[in-house]
Amino acid sequence: MKKYLLLITCLFAVLSLLAQRTVSGKVTDENGNPIANASVTVKETGGGVSTDASGNFSLRLDPKARTLVFSYIGKASEEIVIGNQSVFNARLKQEGGALDEVVVVAYGTQIKKRVTGAIAKVDGSDLENKPFTSVDQMLQGKVAGLQSTSPTGQPGGIQQVRIRGIGSITAGAAPLYVIDGVPVNTGDFSRLNNTSNALAGLNPNDIESVSVLKDAASASIYGSRAANGVVLITTKKGRAGKSKIRIDSEFGFGNTAYVNDLSKPLNREEYFTLTREGLVNAGATQGQIDATLNTLGFNNTANEDWVEHVTRQGTTQNINASLSGGDAKTTFYTSAGFFDQKAVVIGSDFRRYSGTFNIKHKATSKLSVGINTTGSYIHQNSPSQSSAFRNPVAEAFWLRPSQNAYNADGSLNYSTTTFNQLYNPLAVNAYDRIQLNNVKVLANFTGDYQFYRDLKFTTKFGIDFINIEEERYDNPFFGDSRTVGGRMYNYDTRVANWLWSNLLNYRHDFLNSKALGVDFTIGYEAQKSKQYNITTRGEGVPATTNIPLPVPSSPSVAQGARTDYSFVSLLSMLQVNYKSKYSLSGSIRRDGSSRFGSNNKYGTFWSVGAAWNLEQENFVRHIKFINALKLRASYGVNGNAEIGNYTWKGTYIFNANYNQQPGSAPNQVENPDLTWEINKPFNVGIDAVVWDGRVTLNADYYIRNTENLILNDPLSRTSGFNSVSANVGSMENKGWEFQVNIIPVRTKNFTWDLSFNIALNKNKITSLRNNADILGLPFIRRVGEDFQSIYTRLWAGVDPANGNPLWFVDDTKSQTTNNVTTVQRAIIGSASPKGFGSFSTALNYKGFTLDAQFNYQYGNIVYDNWGFIGWSDGFNPQLNKIRKQLGRWQNPGDIADIPKYVYGGAMVSNAESSRWYYKGDFIRLRDLTISYQLPKNVTDAVSMDNVRFYVRGTNLWTKAFDKEITFDPEQPINGVNDLQILIQRTISIGLSLGF
C-alpha cells in the first residue's frame, strides 16, 4: 500500500512537473543592486509573484506561459521570452532612460517611445505626504506649461489650473480631470463657504500617477471637453506577491509664507500721528482734531496688533496607512488616510478622513473584473475673503489699534460702540460659524473580457458623488445680521455623476518580425451629472450663542433646485507602429451634449499625430552619445463644453412673483446654434536622452487657436433682452515648453539630479464681436492684446510742491494732471506670466536625500484690490492703514510717491490706477526635504521593508522681485489680491514605514 502511495505521489509530481515547471532568477537595477518587491508576471495569464528582499524569485509556470514581464515602480519594464531556460535574471533600467517607460494615456497605457502627443507624467511618489489638501496644488511646478495657483490659503480651497494659457473668455478654462477613466466634476460646489475644492476629496497619497495631456494627439479623444487639457489620475493598485503594509505619518507647523514690512498695519502711535496730520491737512481746528481723535479712541489705552490677533501657528497632520498585495488571480490595494490642517488665520481649517479599496480579480482566463472605490469625509471651516465682515484678514488690516479686543474683565469685546463699522474678528470667530461637511465617493466597476488574444472588450461603470452640507450661523448680538436678530443658513448640495463606457480594443502585431503593430479601439460612452441644491435661510435666532443649530423664527428662504447635463460619445482611436521607429496615431470622437443647442447637438473632434524615433535610424545610431531622440508632431480639433448647462435654451423662469402669487417671466434668449468652443492645437516636440541617460530634454512648441468663443451678443433692447450668448470670439495661445533633467553625478552611493522646466506662453485675442473692446475693469479684452491685459490710469507720483496726486493724462506720458476725471486709461501689462516653471535638485547619498524644488514666475502684474483702503492717503480714515502709508509727502519739496495724508481723502488720490499694481515676479522654495532611509540590513533585521525619516519645508523662502509688493506674490490667475486667507509656510517632520 505504501508503495502504491509513493508511486502515485511520484506520478503526480512528474505529471505536475510536466505541466508546470518552475523558473527562478534575480531582479537587479542597472548597477546590479537587487530589487525587492519587483513584480514578475506571466504576460499571457497575468499570474505572478514578487521578488524577495534579495531580489530573488521563483515561479511555477502555467503551460500557456510564453513571456515573463519584470516590472518595478520607477523602472522600465522588461519582457523576456521563456523558451527552455529556467533561470531568468533581469536588469531593470531607470525609467525614462531611453523612453521605454509606460505612461497612462487616454483609455489605456502606452510606451513613451510610441507616444505621438505631448504628455507629462507625475509619479505618485511626488504627490505623497505633502501639506496640501488636493492633488492640483501639488502639480505646481511639476509640469511644464501647467500653471497652478492658489487663489487662497484656505485649506481645502480651490486651486486654479491652466494648461498652455487661458483658452476661453466666458466659458470654463480649467482642464478636464479623469480619475481611473471617469471624467469627474471638479471645481467649487460650495455655495455658502468661501471656497471648496471637489478634488480635495481625493487623498493624494492614493494616487499612483498623474498624466497631463496637453496637445491634440493626447487629449482630443476627450472631444468636446479636451480644449483646456486633460489631467488623468490613476489610483494605486495592488501587485501580486507579498502583502505590503505602509504607514506614513507626518506632523507640521506653519506661519505666514510671505510678509513685507510695508504691509504691516500701523501701531497706535503711528496711526494717531498720521491721523492728526491728516486732520491738520484737512484744515480742521484744534477742537475738531481733538474731538475726532477721541471718537477714534485716542482717549483710551488700547494698542492692539490685529494681525497678531487673527493669525496663529498653523498645524498640519497627515497620517496614511495602506495594505496591498494579492496573488495570481486577485490583487488589491486598500488604504485609510487622515489629514488635518489649520491655516495661519483663525477660523480656517480642514480635516479629511479617507479610505480606498481597489481590487482586481481574474475570474477566468478571459474575464477579469475590477472595482475601485475611494471615499472621503471633509470638515472645513472657511471664513470669507474680500471686504466681507467675516474676513479676519481684512479686519486685521483695517481695525484700529485703539479698538480694544477684550473688555476689562477679559471677555471678548463686541460692543457696537467700539466696533461700529467692522466687527471684532475674535468675537466673530468665537460666536459665529461658517463650515461645510463634504462626503465624496468615487467608484468604478470595470469588466474586461479577452475574446481572443488580440481582441478585448472593456466595460466600465463609474460614479462620482459629492454631497456638501453647509451651515452658517450669524449671532443676534453683533455682525451684519444683528439687525434681523441673527441668521441661520442651512445649505445642501448634492452632485451625482455617472459614466458608462464600453470599449472594444484590437491589438495585433503584423508581419514576420512583428514589425507592424496596430492598436485600434472603438467605444461608446454615456455620462450624466445631476446637481440638487437645498437652500434655506431664516432670521431671528434665540438670544444665546449656546445653541449649536438653532431653528430661526422667520424662515425667509426655503427652496430646492436642480441642474444637470449629459454627454453621449462615440470614439475611435488608431495607433500604428512600425519597428519602434515610426508611430502614427489618429483619434476621432463624436460628442453630443445636452449643453449644445438643437442645431449643433453633435460635434466631431479629431486628431492626428506622428512620432519618429531617430535613434533607430542608421544615420543616428552611430552617434554614440545619443540614447534616444524622438520627434513628435500633432494637430487636431477639440472643444470646450464648459458653457453652462442650459445656456442655449429660451425659457420662462418662475421667479417673478407678484401679490405673493407665483409669476413667470422670459429668462433668456434661445440660441439653438449655441455650442462648444473650438480649440485647434498644433504641437511639435522633441524628446532626447543623451550621454547614457545623463541628460534628458523635452521641448515643445505649440499654437492653440481657439474659435467660437462664447460672448454676449448685444440685442436691441426693444426685444426685451439685453444680449444673447453666441459663439463669436477667437483667441490664440502659442509658446514653448522645455523640460531638462540632468544627472551630473551618478555613482553607486551618490547621485545628483537636476531638473528645470519653463513655459513661455503668449496669448492674444484675435477677434471679438465687431472687434469692440470688452471692458471688465481692471481688465480690457481687446483684439491683438493679451486676454488678461490690465487697463488702468497711469500714476505719475506726487506733486513735490503740494503733495497732490498726479496722473499722466494719457499713455504718451507727456503731461500730468491732478484731476483724475480727465485721465485716460492705458494697458500696462498682463496678469498672465510671460514665463513660469520650476527648477529642482535631488541629492542622494546612501540613505540620505536632499530634495529641493523652486517654483518661479515672471512677467505678470498683480493688483492690490484693497489698497485704496489700506493706504488710501486718508480716505476711510477711521480704518487703519499699513506702514507703506508712512512714506507719504509731508513738506513742500518732498519727493514722495505717496500723496499727503488728508483726513477724509482729497482729489480722489486713491482712484484705481497703476499705483496699485506690482510686478508679480517671484521665486519660491516650494519644497525642501531632507530624508534618511535606514539601510536594508537594518530594516531586514527587524523584518521591515522600509524605514524613512524626513523633515520637509514648504514655501520656506519666497523672493518677490517687486520690493514694494504688500502681499504674497502668489495670487489667483487674474492677479487680484482680495485679502484672501494667507498662504502658509510649513515645516513638517515625517516617518514612513513599510512592512
Binding site: 473580457y449 475574446f451 472588450f457 466595460t459 458608462w500 464600453n502 470599449l503 472594444l504 472603438i522 467605444g523 461608446y524 454615456a526 450624466k528 425667509s556 433646485a561 436642480r562 441642474t563 444637470d564 447635463y565 449629459s566 453621449v568 453630443g592 451634449s593 445636452s594 447637438k601 448647462n645 442650459y646 435654451k649 429660451g650 425659457t651 420662462y652 423662469i653 418662475f654 421667479n655 417673478a656 412673483n657 407678484y658 401679490n659 405673493q660 402669487q661 407665483p662 409669476g663 413667470s664 417671466a665 422670459p666 429668462n667 434668449v669 434661445e670 448685444p714 440685442l715 436691441s716 433692447r717 426693444t718 426685444s719 426685451g720 433682452f721 439685453n722 444673447v724
Partner: protein
C-alpha cells in the same frame, strides 16, 4: 458559438448603451421652454403676475419712473448728504450712456415683451380675455411712459420721432422709431381693446380692471390734448367706476397702508410690493424715507403751497438733513416695516377728477371744471371754501392742484412736458445748491431722455434724439 454571442452582446452594449432618445434633451427644472409657457389659463395667470412683477422693477414703478417725475421737476430735491444716485438726472447732465435712463428703456421693453407674449398667446379659456386685457393695458402704460420720456410731447409735435413699436417677440428685430402719433394710436387701440375685454372686478387694486383701462384712457387723451375724449373717459370712471376719495382725517393713514385695497377708495391701480417681493434698498420708499437713503426731500416751494388746514400737509414730516430743516416726504413710510413694503400708485381717483376738471375747462365748461376741482380740493381741506377763479387763472389752479395732489407720484414732470412749460425750481431754504440748475427751459434738449447708447450700438435702425 459562445464567443459569437458574447461579441454580439458586447457590440450591442457598445452602440445602444443608455441611448434613449431624450438622453440629451435636458431642461432646467425651475423653468419651462418659452413656447410652452403660456399654453393654458394657469400658465397665463403666472405670466400676467410676472408682467406685473416687472413693473415693480426699480427701473420702472419700483423707483425710477415716479422718482424722475418729481426729481427732474420742481417737487423734490436731492440732499447734499446723498448716496450719489439720480444726481445726473436731477442735474440734467445725462448723456446717452446714462445708466438709469438706459435701464428704464430696457426694463420697459422687457415689460412689453412679457405683455406681448400674453397678448399673442393662443389660449381660449373663460378668463383669457380678462388676462389679455390686463396685458394690453400694461403694454399701453409702458408705451405711454416710453413715448413721454424718450420723445417729444404729443402736444408739441405729434409727428416727432417716437419709440419703436414692438408688438410681437423677435429677439433679432432691429426696429426703427415710430412717430409719436403712431405710438399714441397704438396706446389708444390697446386701451380700447383692453376696455372691451376686461371685467370690472379684481382681487384688489394691484390688478388691472375695466376702469383702470378707462382711467388710463382719460390720462392718455389729456396728454394728447383730446379734451373731449378725456372728458368722456373721465366721466365714465366717475359715473361708473365706483371709486371714492378718502376723508381728510384718513389721508395720512391711507398712505400709511402699504398694501393694495379692495375698497375702491382713492387707488385705481397700484404696483404692489410685499414683505418678500420688494426692491429693498433699491425701492422708491428707501429713497424718500429717512430710515433708508432718504436722499430725496420735498421742495419747500411745494410745501409752502399747502394750506395749514390741508390734510396733505400731513404727508410731510419736518426734520433735519445735512444741517437743514427739511420737509421729509411721508407718502412711503414703510421702509422699515417687516410686514409689508410700500406700493407705488400708478393712477388714483384724484387724478381722474383733475383730468375731468381740466377737460371740462378746455371744452369751455368752467362750471364743471370748478365742480370737479373743488370736489377734490375741499375733500383734502375741509375748511377750504373752494376755487372761484375763471379763465386762465382757473387752469393755473387746476394745474397747481394736480401738482399738490400728485406730488411724489411721478406726474409733475410729465405734466410740464405736455404743457410745454419750463421746469422752474424756486430755491427756498437752500434746497438747491451748486451745479443744480434752477431753470430747465422747455426747449432744452435734455427735457427728453437720450436713446440709450447700447440700443444705438445694437440697433442700426434707430436714431438719437436731438442734442445728444
Amino acid at each position: 458559438m459562445k464567443k459569437i454571442v458574447l461579441i454580439l452582446i458586447a457590440g450591442t452594449l457598445l452602440v445602444f448603451a443608455s441611448c434613449k432618445k431624450d438622453f440629451l434633451e435636458l431642461s432646467p427644472y425651475d423653468q419651462v421652454p418659452q413656447d410652452q409657457a403660456i399654453t393654458d389659463e394657469a400658465g397665463m395667470v403666472a405670466a400676467v403676475n410676472g408682467m406685473y412683477a416687472q413693473l415693480r422693477s426699480n427701473n420702472l414703478y419700483g423707483r425710477s419712473l415716479p422718482l424722475y417725475g418729481d426729481l427732474m421737476a420742481d417737487n423734490a430735491f436731492i440732499s447734499t448728504t446723498n448716496s450719489n444716485r439720480y444726481l445726473i438726472e436731477y442735474n440734467y447732465t445725462f448723456i446717452s450712456t446714462n445708466a438709469f435712463s438706459s435701464a428704464t428703456w430696457a426694463s420697459a421693453y422687457n415689460a412689453i415683451l412679457r405683455a406681448n407674449n400674453i397678448i399673442n398667446a393662443s389660449v381660449t379659456s373663460p378668463n383669457a380675455n380678462q388676462l389679455k386685457g390686463e396685458a394690453l393695458t400694461i403694454r399701453a402704460l409702458m408705451y405711454f411712459n416710453l413715448v413721454n420720456w424718450y420723445a417729444k410731447p404729443y402736444t408739441v409735435d405729434p409727428n416727432a420721432e417716437g419709440v419703436p413699436l414692438v408688438l410681437t417677440y423677435d429677439a433679432l428685430l432691429k426696429p426703427s422709431r415710430a412717430k409719436v402719433s403712431e405710438v399714441y394710436a397704438q396706446i389708444d387701440k390697446d386701451l380700447a381693446d383692453a376696455f372691451a375685454s376686461l371685467t370690472s372686478t379684481s382681487k384688489n387694486s394691484s390688478f388691472v380692471t375695466k376702469y383702470v383701462a378707462r382711467a388710463l384712457q382719460a390720462r392718455v387723451a389729456l396728454f394728447k390734448g383730446d379734451w373731449a375724449a378725456a372728458k368722456t373717459f373721465a366721466q365714465d370712471v366717475v359715473a361708473n367706476g365706483g371709486y371714492t376719495l378718502t376723508n381728510a382725517s384718513n389721508l395720512v393713514n391711507y398712505w400709511r397702508n402699504a398694501g393694495p385695497v379692495t375698497t375702491k377708495v382713492e387707488t385705481i391701480f397700484e404696483i404692489t410690493s410685499d414683505a418678500v417681493n420688494n426692491n429693498g434698498s433699491n425701492s422708491l420708499s428707501y429713497f424718500y424715507d429717512q430710515a433708508g437713503y432718504g436722499d430725496a426731500i420735498g421742495a419747500d416751494d411745494l410745501y409752502n403751497k399747502y394750506a395749514d388746514t390741508d390734510a396733505r400737509i400731513g404727508l410731510f414730516i419736518t426734520g433735519t438733513r445735512a444741517g437743514l430743516t427739511v420737509r421729509i416726504v411721508n407718502k412711503y413710510p414703510n421702509t422699515n416695516s417687516a410686514a409689508d413694503k410700500d406700493d407705488t400708485k400708478v393712477i388714483r381717483y384724484a387724478e381722474v377728477l383733475l383730468t375731468l376738471a381740466e377737460a371740462a375747462y378746455r371744452t369751455n365748461d368752467e362750471v364743471n371744471a370748478r365742480l370737479y376741482l373743488n370736489q377734490l380740493a375741499q375733500k383734502r381741506d375741509p375748511s377750504f371754501t373752494g376755487y372761484i377763479s375763471t379763465g386762465a387763472a382757473l387752469l393755473d389752479d387746476i394745474i397747481l392742484e394736480r401738482r399738490k395732489e400728485l406730488a411724489f407720484e411721478g406726474m409733475r414732470y410729465l405734466d410740464l412736458q405736455r404743457l410745454g412749460q419750463d421746469v422752474t425750481r424756486v430755491n427756498i431754504n437752500n434746497n438747491y445748491v451748486g451745479v443744480t440748475p434752477l431753470l430747465i427751459a422747455a426747449s432744452n434738449f435734455r427735457r427728453v431722455f437720450p436713446i440709450p447708447q447700447d440700443e444705438l450700438d445694437a440697433n442700426p435702425n434707430i436714431g438719437q434724439n436731438n442734442g445728444y
